[in-house]
């Protein structure tokens, strides 16, 4: 997957369509959205992720669904919307609202980040003392609860965390992908301190997970859409590399901010 800036020339317009340049997880993207009804909400939604580089990976939005993948393409159909990903560009078809755009962007990012030791995780990211704490779990685990119990401005996302290895360490990036705790997000990256699998309980307690336990906990929470064996091997390699360096825990917590006491301890 090509996403470098070396041989992609700046794309000013495509059939007169001025692209919306954004960057999520240090992945520069240029969205070509012709429909004003979609372009304006998208500009608002991703305003914190606006990018000056202007030579992002081109994504062209079309009206109709293509539904036929050609050789060398990755294709993913989500309700009426479809993502077609090639090595040099991508097409989104049948996107009628910003939520569908959000969903296809997430799928695209999982594919683009994979060879770069990066992935999306069902998790809330909270920054404390300049380090990122990832609270992860499936729907209903308490991600939004943790986010709502955290100080304003400390939450990078309450729903989808973006983790990738860069500059010699694992970093958490802010994302525009939010759940209940709706916000525009912050486009910044923070070194990861630890991962915490959420478990609601009657007392605060934290226990360290073994490599195997951590892998078993993380795998179902990773957003992943590829079906090739090589992609799964890459994911396994990435997660095991992460677990070797970053501690993973199970966090038992109640619906109050006391959980920080056991994390700090």
């Amino acid at each position: 997957m090509h996403l470098g800036k070396t041989d992609v020339h700046p794309v000013e317009t495509l059939d007169g369509c001025v692209p919306l340049h954004i960057s999520i997880g240090s992945v520069p993207l240029s969205l070509f959205i012709r429909e004003r009804a979609l372009r304006e909400p998208a500009s608002r939604r991703y305003r914190e992720f606006a990018d000056r580089s202007q030579n992002g990976f081109p994504i062209v939005l079309g009206k109709t669904s293509k539904q036929v993948a050609e050789s060398g393409e990755f294709s993913y159909l989500l309700d009426d919307a479809e993502l077609v990903l090639r090595s040099q560009d991508a097409e989104f078809h049948g996107v009628r609202h910003e939520y569908a755009l959000d969903s296809l962007l997430r799928i695209l990012l999982t594919m683009v980040l994979l060879p770069q030791r990066g992935f999306l995780l069902h998790g809330a990211t909270v920054v404390r003392d300049d380090r990122a704490y990832i609270f992860f779990g499936r729907s209903g685990a308490g991600k939004s609860t943790i986010a709502s119990l955290s100080p304003q401005g400390s939450v990078l996302t309450d729903e989808i965390s973006l983790i990738r290895y860069s500059n010699g360490c694992w970093q958490a990036h802010g994302t525009p992908f939010w759940g209940e705790f709706r916000a525009a997000g912050q486009n910044r990256l923070v070194p990861v301190a630890g991962f915490y699998l959420l478990k609601q309980a009657t007392e605060e307690r934290v226990e360290i997970l073994s490599v195997k336990q951590a892998l078993r906990a993380l795998l179902p929470c990773v957003l992943f859409f590829a079906s090739e064996k090589s992609a799964h091997e890459t994911l396994l390699r990435t997660l095991l590399g992460l677990i070797e360096e970053i501690p993973c825990h199970r966090l038992y917590f109640r619906r109050n901010a006391e959980f920080w006491k056991v994390i700090a301890a």
């Binding site: 195997k212 590829a226 064996k229 799964h232 994911l235 390699r237 095991l240």
Partner: protein
């Protein structure tokens, strides 16, 4: 049942703390093998059940029949989950 045993070639797998973690890309199902099954996974590739019975009974000093029963049980369990296949035995 003594055709050649092969791992399902579509699976992604890694050894973690001595145990195999296997992902089936088709349905993203994660399988975690116990120590015995992990050993089987590592050593069964390209072997027949008869060859494995010989090896296990010699290495672990167990009766051939005991080894055969255990290995057949393991092979059936892994086969049911389509983690391994047994090639049809050649005749003639």
């Amino acid at each position: 049942m003594s055709g050649e045993i092969t791992r399902n070639p579509n699976l992604a797998w890694r050894e973690v703390d001595g145990a195999m973690v296997i992902i089936s890309p088709e349905d993203s199902q994660v399988h975690e093998l116990n120590e015995t099954a992990s050993l089987f996974w590592k050593h069964a590739e390209g072997k027949t059940l008869d060859e494995l019975v010989e090896r296990i009974s010699a290495e672990y000093e167990v009766a051939r029949e005991t080894a055969r029963v255990d290995l057949e049980e393991l092979l059936a369990a892994l086969g049911e989950k389509q983690l391994v296949f047994v090639a049809p035995e050649e005749k003639g």
